[in-house]
């Protein structure tokens, strides 16, 4: 292609004006990344401040007549409602059970609230409710109360579900994101990115052929097994989290921040299914930021790491468990990763959702 004489480009500097402060809610505020954290810090925490909330774990633990109750709530707005490996009904059970389980609690009771858009198919609602019932029965929890609201056509996107869960925390169990210590090991229960990619593959405008299934599953039985190998005298597990929205990276960044430690991952030890890697490669996504619904991360004292890892691998939901990193003194608040080339890079928390790249 021919070119005329180019201009000397040195003198032309430009820069966009900084944008005004945020005055509206953006989708990114629901991404589980930095914008979500800002929202909680600036709006919700100041309004409701109390010691249980201040722990900022996946569940609150409250004392009632000497019993430690875990309580959590979660809303489900997944689209499409039905996806390979699950649907909004089973997800609404698994998500809330897992938030209880990450505090070491035994899940017991659930509530289920349905916000339904006018015109929604009765048949689909039946399918969702059946799936929710089945998932709760399989997990051994009871749905003991609920609510129904119908909103006008165009005001609800089909169906939203909220579930609240209550469970009991066994004596001696005390898990929290501020308990990670230098030297601790980071354990991951299995392959990452399956849920997010399974959902993405179904989205309008992106349908691609894949056999990837969502990993949506209730993790409390796996957790019970893990807690079984650490005793009151040797409470090896410091903290557990399920890396849902924002993926492994956001969860570990939160732990690093809360415990004021660094976390260093070993890239080659990350379990990622070949198909997920392929899809991420194609779309320009990093599997570390892709959502999971049936995986957990555990920060474990070094002397207990092998026993806990063994317990995980002995359960079907932890068969592919790996030690993926170590907690360290250096770089407090930061997650880093050793690449296969022996260099180190930061694993940042994203501002909002990951966006597929242009080319």
């Amino acid at each position: 292609m021919s070119t005329k004489t180019p201009v000397d480009i040195n003198l032309q500097f430009s820069c966009p004006t900084p944008l005004p402060a945020r005055d509206t809610i953006l989708l990114g505020h629901g991404s589980g990344g930095k914008l979500s954290a800002e929202l909680i810090r600036d709006i919700f925490l100041p309004a409701f401040q109390n010691p249980s909330l201040a722990r900022l774990d996946d569940q609150a633990i409250v004392n009632v007549n000497g019993q430690r109750l875990a309580i959590t709530t979660d809303s489900f707005v997944v689209k499409p409602l039905f996806f390979p490996g699950g649907d909004i009904g089973s997800l609404a059970v698994h998500g809330t059970i897992n938030d209880l389980a990450m505090g070491g609690a035994t899940p017991m009771f659930l509530s289920a609230a349905f916000i339904i858009e006018e015109g929604f198919s009765m048949d689909e609602l039946r399918r969702v409710v059946n799936s929710l019932r089945r998932a709760a029965a399989e997990a051994g929890v009871h749905v003991v109360t609920g609510d129904t609201k119908v909103v006008e056509k165009g005001k609800g996107d089909g169906l939203f579900i909220n579930t609240t869960g209550i469970g009991l925390v066994p004596e001696g169990v005390d898990l929290s994101a501020d308990r990670a210590r230098p030297g601790d090991k980071v354990l991951l229960s299995g392959s990452i990115g399956d849920h997010g990619i399974a959902i993405l593959a179904q989205r309008e405008g992106l349908e691609f052929e894949t056999t990837i299934q969502s990993d949506s599953a209730a993790l409390h039985a796996l957790v019970a097994r893990m807690l079984g190998v650490s005793s009151n005298d040797n409470p090896g597990i410091r903290c557990m989290r399920d890396p849902t929205r924002g993926g492994v990276s956001s969860t570990l960044n939160e732990i690093a921040e809360r415990s004021q430690v660094g976390i260093e991952l070993e890239e080659s030890s990350l379990p990622i299914h070949e198909e997920v890697r392929g899809a991420c490669e194609l779309l320009g996504l990093d599997p570390l930021y892709v959502a999971n619904e049936g995986k957990l991360l555990a920060i474990v004292a070094p002397e207990a790491a092998d026993a806990v890892l063994g317990a995980m691998r002995g359960h079907p939901l932890g068969a592919e468990a790996q030690i993926i990193g170590t907690v360290q003194i250096e770089n407090p608040g930061l997650v880093t990763m050793r690449t296969p080339l022996g260099t180190t890079r930061v694993v940042d928390m994203l501002a909002g959702d990951q966006l597929p790249r242009i080319c």
Partner: protein
């Protein structure tokens, strides 16, 4: 992953790095053009593997970063019209315009949709005959054939409600502009593999000839980058200036002829403004007169939007390889991916974002 893992193999990478050390006797400044390559360099810490006297500077090949502010403002203005559905690549949504971005426009009620392929936008137009669908067609030669295809398809179907807001840029005129600039320090280029997959290597012959500068067409994996660096260093050390192709598994001398033909049918070469750099003659593509009916700039009366950009961020120097993102006093402080001052901090291919995401620890220490 088959056909990919070998290009990330640490043994091969380390062996290449050792060869580069051995081959280097003097300092050299090399530039990778493409943001995808910048991303690989930062993600894998390739620069840490190189000898100190090899300096890698990052070029203007981030499509989001060089899209003019005016185009972003126009896209936002169009998106806010109730009769318009604006379809864009995901990367563009967070890029700040003068006062807003497309995400904010979406929050205000604009119908903004993310597409992974421009033909999706045509599909949306087909499905919504009562709305006007505008596709924000940006990018280098890599995205041009697919974008051209969308216009071609719309014309063939006679879709009257489809148009494109075009901001397309071309690599060779940008390299020429960098080379004639009095402040240029670059002694060898890694040319962008994906662009060359479309256009072939042939376009780069005249640059090698006119400026006696070595150019190696390179791929995007760590082994690709290291091999391209080695090829450049060997040429420079031997006093040679040749066009070489490292990315032979994808790039041919002639390129993808059908892709070039569809581009030639739909687009014509035009002067183009680059954000952060300024106007470069004959460095862009616009829809040809036969496709005027699909040109959003002509379909909608958008008027002349001119924007003056104040000079806090140094994206101009960063995009020309004159400065590193970390040379900017605002880096990581007043400029972060959450509150970007410039596009290079937003895009996943932007140099500032790559430094921020992958290398902050090196800065923090």
């Amino acid at each position: 992953m088959k056909y990919l893992d070998e290009y990330r193999d640490h043994r091969i990478a380390r062996a290449l790095a050792a060869e580069i050390v051995q081959a280097t006797t003097r300092p050299w400044v090399l530039m990778e053009i493409c943001g995808g390559q910048t991303h690989t360099i930062m993600r894998y810490g390739i620069d840490e593997l190189l000898p100190r006297n090899i300096e890698i500077v990052h070029g203007p090949g981030c499509p989001v970063c060089v899209t003019p502010l005016e185009t972003v403002d126009k896209a936002i203005a169009l998106a806010l019209r109730p009769d318009v559905i604006l379809v864009s690549y995901g990367d563009m949504l967070r890029v700040p315009g003068s006062h807003s971005d497309l995400f904010r426009a979406k929050a205000q009620g604009a119908d903004v949709r993310i597409a992974y392929s421009p033909t999706e936008a045509v599909k949306i137009a087909r499905a919504n005959p009562e709305r006007k669908v505008v596709f924000l067609a940006i990018g280098f030669e890599t995205t041009a054939p697919a974008n051209a295809m969308a216009a071609w398809q719309a014309k063939r179907e006679g879709l009257a409600n489809f148009s494109m807001l075009v901001s397309h840029v071309l690599v060779p005129p940008a390299i020429r502009a960098l080379m004639v600039s009095s402040s240029n320090r670059v002694q060898g280029f890694i040319a962008p593999g994906h662009v060359c997959t479309v256009m072939g290597c042939k376009e780069y012959e005249s640059l090698v000839h006119d400026f006696r500068v070595p150019i190696v067409v390179g791929g995007f994996e760590p082994v690709d980058i290291l091999e391209a660096v080695l090829m450049l260093v060997r040429q420079l050390e031997a006093g040679e200036a040749k066009l070489e192709n490292q990315y032979v598994r994808s790039v041919s001398y002639q390129g993808n002829i059908p892709a070039q033909e569809i581009m030639a049918e739909v687009f014509e070469i035009a002067d183009q403004k680059w954000r952060g750099i300024g106007p470069i003659p004959q460095s862009g593509l616009r829809l040809s007169s036969e496709y005027a009916a699909y040109d959003a700039d002509r379909v909608f009366d958008l008027g002349e939007i001119t924007v003056d950009e104040p000079a806090e961020c140094i994206s101009a120097q960063v995009l020309q390889g004159l400065k590193k993102p970390t040379d900017c006093p605002a880096f990581g402080m007043r400029c972060t991916p959450e509150n970007p001052l410039g596009a290079p901090m937003v895009s996943s291919e932007g140099a500032c974002a790559a430094y921020y995401h992958y290398r902050r620890h090196a800065v923090a220490k």
